[in-house]
Amino acid sequence: MQYLSQLFKKSFLPLFLILINSMLFAQEEYTLRGTISDETNGETMFGTTVYFKGTTIGTTTNEYGFYSITAPEGKYILVVSYVGYKEIQKEVFLNKNTTLNIEIKEDPSLLDEVVITATDGSERLNIRKPQMGVVTLKAETIKLVPAVLGEVDLIKTIQLLPGVSNNGEGSAGFNVRGGAVDQNLVLLDEAIIYNTSHFFGLFSVFNNDAIKDVKLYKGDIPAKFGGRTASVLDVRQKDGNNKRLELNGGIGLISSRLALEAPLFKKKGSFLLAGRSTYAQLFMGLADDLGNSKISFYDLNLKANYEINENNKIYVSSYFGRDVFNISSLLDSNYGNITGNLRWNHIFNDKLFSNLSLIYSKYDYQIVLDFVKLDWISDIENFNLKYDFGYYASDKIKIDFGLSGISYNLNPGEITPSTPTSPINPLKLDQKRAFEAGAYASVEHAITDKLTARYGLRYSTFNRLGGQAIKNYANNQPVVYNQGLGIYQSGEAVGETEYSRGQTIEQFGNLEPRLGLSYKLTDHSSIKGSYTRTAQYLQLLSNTASVTPLDVWTTSGTYVKPQLSNQYALGYYKKFNDNAYSFEAETYYKTTDNRIDYIDGADLIGNNTIETEILNGEARAYGLELMLRKNKGRFTGWFSYTLAKTEQRSFGGIAGGPGINNGNWYNAPFDRTHDISITGMYKFTDKWTFSANAVYQTGRPVTYPTGQFEYDGSSVVIYNNRNASRLPAYHRIDVSATYKPNRKPDKQWKGEWVFSIYNMYNRRNAASITFGQNYNTVANEATRTSIFGIIPSITYNFKF
C-alpha cells in the first residue's frame, strides 16, 4: 500500500501535472509560407524542397514556387535545397504565421550535374513523395543533348528516357508506355497542344529558350490532370527575368532564335518574348518536278506576369506557331497551334494556394490545291476554365482539389472553292461540339516516417453536344462484315437524327481513382506502387504509317465510346555514393478499353462518318523500364533500357465477322520490344564539353507481303497479318562538341559554338518499307524510305 502511494507520488503525479500543464498551455502551430525563386533571374522554382532541419516537417514547392509548412511553435533551421543549387539554411523563429520568400543561387561547381529528377526533387529530405513514373527536366539539360541540325529539342530528349519512344523519323509526336500519340496530354503553360511537331517530327514546337522546365508523367497521373490515358507532358515557359534585361539566342544552319526577357512594373513583374524561325526559301528546287518550293516554320512565345501583392499574382502566356509549305504552283499548306492563357494565383491564407486559369487553344490545318481550285481547312479549338487549389493542411497532409471545364469545337474539314470558277462544290464535314468537365480531390498523406500515400479521385464527364445530325444505320450497324468478300464494309445508312444546338447527343461520366504508395526502405532507397484509372474522350484518327496533318481529331459520341485505361505500376529507386549514381526500375501493366481500330482499307481522310470505318477494340501494354544515372563528376549521363510489349485486338462486335486480324492480339503500330538509350556528357575543360547519345530500338511492326499473284497483267502483293513483321532495327549515334571561348569573362555577352553530327555513321534507318513492282523491270522489289542520314551542323548560341 505504501509502495503504491510512493509510486503514485513519484511518477503518476508529475505526469499528471505535466498533462494538466500542457493542456492549459497547449502548443500552438504556426505556418511558414513563401515563394522560392532563383537569385539570378527571379524565376520561381518548381519542386524545391523546403524543410525544417532534423525533422520530417517539410514540403516541395508547387509550379509557382509556393511552399507552406505548419509546425509547432519553436526555433528551427529552414533548409532550402534543389539539385544544382547551393543549399540555404536559415534560422527561423516560428511564433506566428510568417511569410518568408527565399532566393537560391545556382552552384557553379554543380552546374554540370545532370538535372533530371525522377521522383523527388531532393535527396536529402526524409519525406518521400509517392509520385512515381514522373521525370522532371530542366531546359539546361535539354540543351546538352545533341540534336538534329543543332536544334535542341525537348521531345527528342524525352525519347532518351525509358518508356518513351516515337514512331519513326518523320512522324510527329511520341509514345509513352505503348500509348498512341494522341494519348499524351501535352500542355504548354496549361494550354493543350495538339501537334507537337514542326516539319513532321523533325523539330518540336518548343523553343528551348522559352522553356523553364518540363514534367513528364508516364503513368501515375495526378488527379488534377485528365483527358488522356498514356501520359501528361507539362511544359512551362519561363516567367521572364525580373531583375535585368536578358537576351538569349542562337544562329543555326536552318533556323535562328531570339529570346528577350526583362522586368516590368518596377521589378514587380517581368516578361518573356521569344521567337524562332527557319530561313525562308529553304530547300528550293531540290526535286526537279517540284520546282520552286518553300518550306518553313516559326514559333512565337510570350509570357508576362505581375505581382499585385504578396497574395496575388497574374500571368498571361501565349504561343503561336506555324508550318508553311509551298510546292511550286501546285500546293500551299500551313498548319499550327495557337494558345493563350490568363492566370491568377491567389493565396487565400498561409495554407491555401489557388490558381484560376482561362485558357484558349486552337490547332488548324489548311491546304490550298491550286490545280483543283480547292481550299481545305480543318481545326480543333477549345476554351478551358480551371480552378486549382492546394491546401497544406499539416506537415503530414496536403490536399489538392479543383475543377475544370473544357468546351470543344471541332471542324473536321471544310472544302471551299478557292476561285469563283472552281468546279469544286463546297463541302463541310459536320462540326462537332462537346463539353468536358472534371472535378478532383487528392490527398497526399505522410502516414509514417517511411510510408506516404496519395489517394485521389477524379470525376470526369463528357457531353457531346448537338447542332448536327447523326446518321442512323440499318440494324444499328455502321460497319458490317461482308461474308462473301471476307471484308468489312460501310453499313447501310437509313436516315439521320437531327440534334439541335441545345440538345445533348451523348453523355458520359467516369470515376477515375488515382492511388499511390511510397515506402522508404533505407535513407537511399524506396519502393513505390500506383494504380491509375483515366478516361479519354478525344481520339486522333490516322491509318497511315505516319501521323500526317490530314489526320483528324474526333470525340466520343454515339458510335465511339470513351477510352478507359487502368494502369498498375511498381517501382524501385536507389541512390549510391551520396547521389553520385541513381538507379530506377519500374514495371507497369496497362489495359485500355474502347480503343478504336480501322478496318482494312479504311477511308478516313475527308470522311464525314468515320463510324463506318472502325471497330471497337482494346489494348494492353506491359513493360520493364530501367535507368542508371551518373549525376556528378566530369562525366555524367544516363543509360536507359525498356523491355515492353504493346498489343491490341478488335472483335467484330455488332458488325459481325472475325474482327481485325481474326480477333487475335496483334502488335500495336508503336510496339518496340527493346529500346536502349545511352547519353553521356563529358566536361573536358572549362571551354570544351562533349556529349553523345546512342539509340537502339527494335524495328516497328509493319505488314509485310507473304506472296504475290498475277492478275490483269501485273503482280498483286499478298499481305500478311496486320503488323506481324518488323522493320529492321533502328539505331544511330549522335555526337556534339560545345566550345565556350569566354575570352572576356567579365563581359556580359557570352557565346558558345556547338558542333554536332546527327547519325554519325549514316545509317539509313527505314522509316517505312513498301512493296511493289518496278515499273521498268516488272520485278517485285522492296523500297525503303529513310529520312535522316548523317547531318552535321554548327550553331552559335549567345546570351546577354
Binding site: N607, Y711, V716, I718, Y719, Y775, T783
Partner: protein, 291 residues
C-alpha cells in the same frame, strides 16, 4: 465515297505524286532505296483470273479464264494450274458454259453468250474443292472522242491525252479504264464513279508515268485504251488494288491489306481463292499520237 482524296484522284492523277511529296515534305532529307529485305512466304493459294469481257459490237463468245497458284513475293515465275474444271452458269436464263482445260493454266470456251445485266455464276473445282463467285454484266458507253494535248500534264512539253464518254443518266455507274503505251510493261489503271457527274460527259486523263521519264511519248507512239463498265464491288476492289500498286516508296500510304476477291469456298471458307470474277462490256481503242 464522298472524300477529299476521291476529288483529288478524279481531277488530277498527275499531281498525286506532288501531293504525297508535299505531305511528305521531307524531300530535302529523305531518300528511297531499293533494298534486299527477306519476307515470309505463305502456302500457295489458287488464283482465278476470270475477267470476262464483251467487246461492244462483237459476239463475245470467246472467253478465257486463267488459273494459277500464288508464289513467294520475289518469285514471278508463272505457276499455272491444270486439271481443274471450270464452268459458268447464266443465273438469269439458265445457260451453262463449260470451259476447256488447255493444259497450260488457261480454260477456254467459244460458246459464251453475254447478255447485258444478266447475272453469271462461276464455279471452279480444283483439288476436290469448289470456288464460286457471282457477278452481273455491266454495260459501258462508247468512247466519244480522244483529244491529245501538251499542256494538260505536269510537264508542259510532254504529250498527254484525254478520253471522253457520256455517262448513262439516272443510274449509278462505275468505270474502269486502262492505258498501255508503246513498249510499257505495266498499264495505267483508273477507276471512276459517276457520283458527281451523273448524266454528264466524263473524262479521263492519261500521261506517261513519272517512273518512265526516260521514255518520252513521241508522235507516232500508240496507246492501247480499254474502258469497262463495272459493278460497285469491283470498283471497291480495284480501287484498293490500284492504291496498293501505287504504294511503293510512299510512307504515307495507308496500311496495306490482303486483297480478297469475290470468290468463296463454301465447303472450306478459309481456303478462298485470289483474283476477281468480273463480266463486263468494254470498248477498246488504239490511239496514235500525232504532232
Amino acid at each position: 465515297m464522298n472524300t477529299l482524296i476521291e476529288i483529288i484522284r478524279k481531277n488530277i492523277l498527275k499531281s498525286k505524286h506532288a501531293l504525297k511529296m508535299a505531305l511528305l515534305g521531307l524531300i530535302a532529307f529523305s531518300c528511297t532505296d531499293v533494298v534486299d529485305i527477306s519476307v515470309p512466304t505463305e502456302a500457295p493459294r489458287l488464283v482465278i483470273e476470270a475477267s470476262l469481257g464483251w467487246e461492244k459490237g462483237s459476239l463475245g463468245n470467246n472467253q478465257t479464264i486463267k488459273l494459277s497458284l500464288s508464289t513467294p513475293f520475289y518469285d514471278l515465275t508463272p505457276s499455272p494450274v491444270t486439271g481443274a474444271s471450270v464452268r459458268i452458269e447464266n443465273v438469269t436464263n439458265g445457260d451453262v458454259f463449260i470451259f476447256e482445260d488447255q493444259q497450260d493454266g488457261r480454260y477456254t470456251t467459244a460458246d459464251f453468250e453475254p447478255i447485258i445485266n444478266n447475272t453469271y455464276n462461276l464455279e471452279v473445282i480444283y483439288n476436290n474443292e469448289a470456288y464460286t463467285a457471282q457477278e452481273t454484266l455491266i454495260p459501258v458507253p462508247e468512247i466519244d472522242r480522244i483529244e491529245q494535248s501538251r499542256i494538260g500534264g505536269s510537264d508542259p512539253e510532254e504529250l498527254d491525252l484525254t478520253i471522253y464518254f457520256n455517262d448513262i443518266e439516272n443510274e449509278v455507274n462505275f468505270y474502269y479504264a486502262t492505258f498501255l503505251e508503246g513498249n510499257d510493261l505495266l498499264p495505267l489503271r483508273i477507276v471512276l464513279s459517276d457520283e458527281f457527274t451523273d448524266g454528264n460527259e466524263m473524262s479521263i486523263f492519261y500521261e506517261e508515268n513519272e517512273a518512265d521519264a526516260e521514255d518520252e511519248i513521241l508522235p507516232g507512239d500508240m496507246v492501247d485504251i480499254y474502258l469497262f463498265g463495272i459493278t460497285e464491288e469491283y470498283y471497291d476492289f480495284l480501287g484498293r488494288l490500284i492504291e496498293q500498286g501505287d504504294n511503293a516508296g510512299d510512307p504515307f500510304a495507308t496500311v496495306p491489306t490482303r486483297l480478297k476477291g469475290n470468290y468463296i469456298n463454301p465447303g472450306n471458307p478459309e481456303n478462298y481463292a485470289f483474283g476477281y470474277f468480273r463480266v463486263t462490256e468494254f470498248v477498246n481503242e488504239v490511239y496514235t499520237f500525232v504532232e
